[in-house]
C-alpha cells in the first residue's frame, strides 16, 4: 500500500482515522496534565473551577506556586547539576570511544564494541543496585583497611551521576560515532599535508565537523539524565532530584502544583529538543 497504488476509498479513510486516533492517544495525557495546571482547585481533576495562574506564581497557602515552592526548586537545581555532569562525562567518553572504534583496529575490538552496547540491554534498576552494592562494598573495604570514610561511595549525588553515566555514555558514543563514520578522512589528510600536526588537524577539522553530533549527544544525555528514574531511585541519598521528589509527592496525593511543574518540564524539554534539531539541521 503506497500512494502510487490505487486503493479503495474506505481503506484510505479508515487508515487515516487510525492515524488520527493514534495521535490523539499520544497527546491526551500531556494535554490533560497541561490543562489542569491552570485549574483553580486543590485537585488536578474535574470539575473545572476556573482559570488561575496560582499554581505557578501563588505565594500563599493553600496555593503555593512552583516559583515559591522551595523543595521543588531545589530539586530542579539538583537535577540540573546532575544532568550537566552526566552530559559532560558522557560526551567526553563518547567522543573518545567514537575515535577509538573508528580509527583503530586492535585485537578484541569486536567484543569490546558489544560490551560497550550492553548497558542498553541491562534494566536500569539492575544497573542501580549493582553500583549500589559495589560502592558500598568498596566503602566497607576502605573503612576496614584504613578507617577511611569515603562519603562519595554512599548513596548520594556522586553515585547518581555515575549510575546515569554508566548507560548514557553508550548513547553518546553511538550518536557521535554515527557522524564520525560519515567523515571524509581525506580532509584530515589535507590538513596534515598543509603542515598541521595530528592534534591540530583533529582540533581544527574533525572536531568542528563533529560539533552538531556533540551538541546532539549533550542534549540527549541531559534529557535522559533529567528524566531518569529507575537507576536514580536506587542510588539517591538525601538530595532528591526532581523525578524522585515528584514521585514522593505523587504517592502522597497530587495537587495541580505537580501539573505546573510538569508543564514547565514539557516546555523546557521541547525547547531543548528544538535546539538539537536545529543544531543538526544547520549543515
Amino acid at each position: 500500500m503506497i500512494p502510487s497504488i490505487p486503493r479503495s476509498r474506505f481503506l484510505t479513510a479508515s487508515y487515516t482515522a487510525y492515524i488520527v486516533l493514534f495521535f490523539i492517544f499520544l497527546a491526551l495525557p500531556l494535554v490533560v496534565v497541561a490543562v489542569f495546571a491552570f485549574n483553580d482547585s486543590q485537585f488536578p481533576s474535574l470539575p473545572w473551577e476556573g482559570f488561575t495562574w496560582s499554581w505557578f506564581f501563588g505565594d500563599a497557602r493553600p496555593m503555593i506556586g512552583v516559583f515559591h515552592e522551595r523543595p521543588i526548586l531545589r530539586a530542579i537545581g539538583t537535577s540540573a547539576i546532575v544532568a550537566v555532569f552526566v552530559s559532560i562525562l558522557s560526551v567526553g567518553v563518547g567522543l573518545s570511544n567514537a575515535f577509538l572504534f573508528n580509527r583503530y583496529r586492535f585485537p578484541g575490538q569486536g567484543i569490546l564494541y558489544v560490551f560497550m552496547l550492553l548497558p542498553l540491554v541491562i534494566p536500569g534498576i539492575v544497573l542501580g543496585i549493582s553500583i549500589l552494592v559495589a560502592s558500598s562494598r568498596a566503602a566497607e573495604g576502605l573503612w576496614d583497611m584504613a578507617q577511611w570514610d569515603v562519603a562519595a561511595l554512599r548513596p548520594g549525588l556522586t553515585l547518581v551521576i555515575l549510575g546515569q553515566f554508566s548507560f548514557v555514555a553508550t548513547i553518546a558514543t553511538l550518536v557521535i560515532a554515527a557522524r564520525l563514520q560519515k567523515f571524509d578522512q581525506t580532509l584530515e589528510e589535507a590538513a596534515l599535508n598543509l603542515g598541521a600536526n595530528r592534534l591540530t588537524a583533529v582540533r581544527t577539522v574533525t572536531l568542528p565537523y563533529l560539533m552538531p553530533a556533540m551538541i546532539g549527544a549533550f542534549v540527549v544525555a541531559f534529557l535522559m539524565s533529567f528524566e531518569n528514574f529507575n537507576t536514580t531511585l536506587m542510588l539517591v541519598g538525601s538530595d532528591a532530584p526532581l523525578t524522585i521528589a515528584m514521585f514522593d509527592r505523587l504517592k502522597e496525593g497530587s495537587t495541580p502544583l505537580l501539573n505546573a511543574v510538569s508543564l514547565l518540564l514539557m516546555l523546557v524539554s521541547s525547547g531543548l529538543a528544538l535546539i538539537m534539531i536545529f543544531a543538526q539541521r544547520r549543515d
Binding site: 500500500m1 503506497i2 500512494p3 502510487s4 497504488i5 486503493r7 487508515y15 492515524i19 493514534f22 499520544l26 497527546a27 495525557p29 500531556l30 490533560v32 496534565v33 481533576s45 474535574l46 567526553g92 567518553v93 573518545s96 570511544n97 577509538l100 586492535f106 569486536g110 569490546l112 558489544v114 560497550m116 552496547l117 542498553l120 540491554v121 541491562i122 534494566p123 536500569g124 534498576i125 539492575v126 544497573l127 543496585i129 549493582s130 553500583i131 549500589l132 552494592v133 559495589a134 553515566f165 554508566s166 553511538l174 534529557l223 533529567f226 528524566e227 528514574f229 529507575n230 531511585l233 536506587m234 526532581l242 505523587l250 505537580l258 510538569s262 518540564l265 514539557m266 524539554s269 529538543a273
Partner: protein
C-alpha cells in the same frame, strides 16, 4: 609514528575500559557475589545458593517474576501492532513536510519525563478522572468508575511509555525500502497482504527486532508505571527488588532477584536475536 599511534590507542582505550570495568563489570560481579552469600549470623556469611532457593520456593516471588515476563512480552506485542501501521504511514504514505511533522509529533511526548506521562494517565483514568466523568456525562454509567489500579491500566501505561522506541526504528527501516520494490510486488500479482508479508515485513525485520528489544527491556525494568497505575495485586518484579533493597534491607535476596531479572532479560533478548538471525551490533549500533 608507531609509538605515537600506540600512545593514542592507549589514551582512547583507557576511558572506555575504566567506564566498563568500574561501572559495569565490577558492580555485576559484586552483585553476583552478594547474591551467593547466605547470612548465618550477625555479620557472618557463607557461600551458597540459598537466596536463589528462596526465590524458587516462594510462590509469590516466582509468580511475580513470570507475570512480569508475560506482561512485558504482551506489552511489546501490543506496542508493535499499534506502532507498525503508524510507522508505515509516516515512512511510506506521508510526504515531505507532513512526514517530518508527524515524525516530530511522535517524538514530542518522549522528551517529557516518564513521571509526567504516568501522571497524565492517572488524571485520565482515576475514579474522579476525565474518562470516568465523560462516561457519566454521556450517561453510559451510573456512578464514577475506577479505571486505575488494574493490569489494563499498567498495559496502557507501558505501551504509551515505550511507543517511541518502536516507532523510530520502524520508520528508519521502512524509509529505506524503495517504493519501486513494493510496486514490483503488486505488478507481479501480489495482494496487499502478500506484499506486506513477503516484502515489507522481511525488510523491516531489523527495525522490528531492535524496537522489540528496547520496548521489552523498558517494560521489564519499569518501576514507575506498575507502581503508580497498578493495584495491590499487580505487583511488578522491580517492586520486589526495590523492597528487598530499600525497605527490608535484605541485599542478598535483592541481589539474587536482580540477577534473575538480568538473566531473564538477556535470555529473551538473545532468543529474539537468534530467532531472527540478527546481532546486537547490527540492531543497536
Amino acid at each position: 609514528m608507531r609509538a605515537q599511534a600506540k600512545l593514542g590507542l592507549f589514551l582512547l582505550l583507557s576511558p572506555l575500559l575504566l567506564w566498563l570495568t568500574l561501572l559495569i563489570l565490577i558492580p555485576h560481579v559484586d552483585m553476583l557475589l552478594v547474591s551467593l552469600r547466605e547470612r548465618i549470623g550477625v555479620g557472618q556469611y557463607q557461600i551458597g545458593l540459598g537466596n536463589y532457593f528462596t526465590f524458587f520456593s516462594e510462590p509469590l516471588y516466582l509468580r511475580t517474576f513470570l507475570r512480569t515476563a508475560v506482561m512485558s512480552i504482551l506489552a511489546t506485542a501490543i506496542t508493535l501492532l499499534i506502532a507498525f501501521p503508524v510507522s508505515y504511514y509516516i515512512a511510506k504514505m506521508a510526504r515531505g513536510r507532513v512526514r517530518s511533522a508527524l515524525f516530530l509529533l511522535c517524538l514530542v511526548p518522549f522528551w517529557v519525563s516518564e513521571l509526567v506521562r504516568t501522571f497524565g494517565w492517572m488524571i485520565l483514568l482515576r475514579e474522579t478522572g476525565i474518562i470516568s466523568n465523560l462516561l457519566q456525562i454521556l450517561n453510559l454509567t451510573d456512578g464514577p468508575v475506577e479505571l486505575l489500579y488494574n493490569d489494563a491500566a499498567i498495559m496502557v501505561g507501558l505501551v504509551y511509555t515505550s511507543m517511541l522506541f518502536m516507532v523510530v526504528p520502524l520508520v528508519t527501516t521502512l524509509e529505506s525500502l524503495p517504493d519501486e520494490v513494493i510496486e514490483a510486488g503488486y505488478d507481479l500479482g501480489g495482494s496487499g497482504l502478500s506484499v506486506l508479508r513477503e516484502i515489507v515485513i522481511p525488510h523491516a525485520m531489523p527495525g522490528i527486532v531492535s524496537g522489540c528489544i528496547v520496548v521489552f527491556m523498558l517494560s521489564l525494568g519499569n518501576y514507575l508505571t506498575p507502581t503508580m497505575l497498578g493495584g495491590k495485586d499487580s505487583l511488578w518484579f522491580t517492586e520486589l527488588i526495590y523492597s528487598q533493597f530499600i525497605v527490608r534491607f535484605n541485599w542478598e535476596l535483592g541481589a539474587a532477584f536482580g540477577f534473575m531479572l538480568l538473566i531473564l532479560s538477556s535470555t529473551i533478548v538473545w532468543g529474539m536475536l537468534k530467532l531472527t538471525g540478527q546481532s546486537l551490533e547490527k540492531t543497536m549500533g
